[in-house]
């Protein structure tokens, strides 16, 4: 589905510049949920920008469904960390979600249906006429997720999407994300610095060490559907958490 091979990104001069992504290789399977775990400043965001085609790689390849990524691909959607800046305050919730659809070749009717379905999926079906700034932070991020879902991507890239909401909202959003992942049968690459979040959500967790190189890969064999209380109480959850913690500290 998504293959990354020997991805390298250097800012500035090849030799002396700042290496943001060292030598990164991994693959993501169809409908897989992969979490990429790394501490702040290890090059996670740069890596995502390369994967999404927003930034060109210095060397190496990103291949999405057999096609090399050289600009933003049409089967990919990106959910940014800072929802307040990626949503447009002059458009309603509905306007924000349907805005990209016009340019994807959807008819007005299709776009309206996709928008309504996506807003429904994130539980905001009744807030479609509100403006983003009238909603709480968690709701705004749900709008951003709905916008990505309505676009019908094959791959969803998420850059620490829940990093700036409170803990309760965060766990609600995690459960919501798992639901829509099943419903939309989409492949997700989810970047986070939170170990619990990574283990709770993922099929597989990759640990990144600066400069963005995979140091550990952990398969997460926790049963689905997952539950915030019972899943996190499983011995396997605790084992994975300490494995990943030691990998991060290494």
């Amino acid at each position: 589905m998504l293959e990354v091979s020997h991805l390298r990104k250097v800012y500035g001069n090849q030799e002396t510049g700042n290496v943001a992504v060292g030598d990164l290789s991994f693959t993501v399977g169809e409908k897989e949920f992969v979490c990429i775990l790394g501490s702040s400043g290890c090059g996670k965001t740069t890596m995502l920008r390369c994967l999404s085609g927003l930034a060109p790689a210095t060397s190496g390849d990103v291949v999405l469904e057999g096609r090399k990524v050289s600009g933003p691909p049409k089967d990919l959607a990106y959910v940014f960390q800072d929802y307040s800046r990626s949503l447009l305050p002059w458009m309603t919730v509905e306007g924000n979600v349907s805005f990209p659809l016009r340019y994807k070749g959807m008819s007005k009717q299709e776009a309206r249906a996709a928008t309504a379905e996506a807003l429904d999926a994130v539980g905001l079906g009744n807030r479609h006429r509100a403006f983003p700034w009238q909603l709480s932070g968690g709701m705004q991020q749900r709008v951003a997720i709905a916008r990505a879902l309505a676009y019908r991507p094959r791959v969803l890239l998420m850059d620490e999407p829940f990093a700036s909401v409170d803990a309760q909202t965060r766990s609600d959003l995690e459960d919501l994300l798992l639901q829509v992942w099943e419903r939309y049968a989409v492949t997700i690459v989810f970047v986070t610095h939170d170990i619990d979040e990574a283990v709770y959500l993922a099929d597989r967790v990759l640990v990144l060490q600066a400069p963005a190189t995979v140091s550990v890969v952990a398969d997460v064999d926790l049963p689905r559907p997952r539950d915030q209380i019972t899943t996190k109480a499983l011995p396997e959850f605790a084992r994975l958490r300490s494995e990943l913690l030691s990998a991060l500290r290494h």
């Binding site: 999404s52 085609g53 927003l54 933003p72 049409k74 990919l76 959607a77 990106y78 940014f80 800072d82 307040s84 800046r85 990626s86 447009l88 305050p89 002059w90 458009m91 805005f99 990209p100 016009r102 340019y103 994807k104 807030r127 509100a130 403006f131 983003p132 700034w133 009238q134 909603l135 709480s136 932070g137 709701m139 705004q140 676009y151 700036s164």
Partner: protein
Amino acid sequence: MNAASRAGTFLAQFLLPVAVVVGYGLWSSQADSFYFPPLQEIGETFADTWLFERVPVDLLPSLGRLAAGYVLAVVVGVGVGLALGLWRIARLASEPVVEFLRALPAPALIPFALLLFGTGNNSKVFIIALGTVWPILLNTIDGVRGLESQQLDMARSYRIPPRSVLLHIILPAASPRIFAGMRTSLSIGIILMVISEMVASDNGVGYFILQSQRSFRIPEMWTGIVLIGLVGFVLNWLFLRVEARVLFWHRGARGLLREDAGGRAGDAPAPAPADEAAPDATPAIPPTARSSRPVS
């Protein structure tokens, strides 16, 4: 309490103008000054002159030229401002020229405008446009440069075509600054409207004021001055109404529309979300303070 305080504010704002007018009326009625005619005489002359005999002769031509010059300035200022805001090299290259031209007072060009366009409407429209274009241009450039890079990333990742990015993202994002510039320009435009009519003109309110003074019709002169004041007041008021309507999202996003926001969204007007959404929101500032800090 809210209604009471609103009524109190209104009363306070109403009292001072009334006091000034009444004060002038009382003083002028016994002052017997040639330069400060009695209020009653000014009022009667005003009614005779401007209701509505000279409206088509002087007022409408003035307003027409103001509108033409202002619209021209908005179109050119926003258009060129967008281009310069987006295109760094062009911006740097044009900077010295723009700085020079905007430092040049537009009235200094009236003789040249008369040579170029003659004494008709065109020279006046030119002067108004030339004087009002700079605040709009510079604020548009600033507005474009203040764009959130993440909004552009979002647009790119969703493959939104450049024309739509310009129309639906860049232009709205810059609109608070554009409006700030337009507001400054509006007052400049009224000034230039009057000045341009005082030189080589045969109609307009400015012309009327000057002619009245020259023929010692002092009450008439005063009615022209009062009329210009009223025109400025009304236009500014209209402008603020339009701005509040177009930029309601801007005030909302800044956390300044809390009451309305609650009503519109149909649930509690939770202040927390607004704070989260805009960490730099400072509700203490007055509603228009942000948008009214123009570069001029």
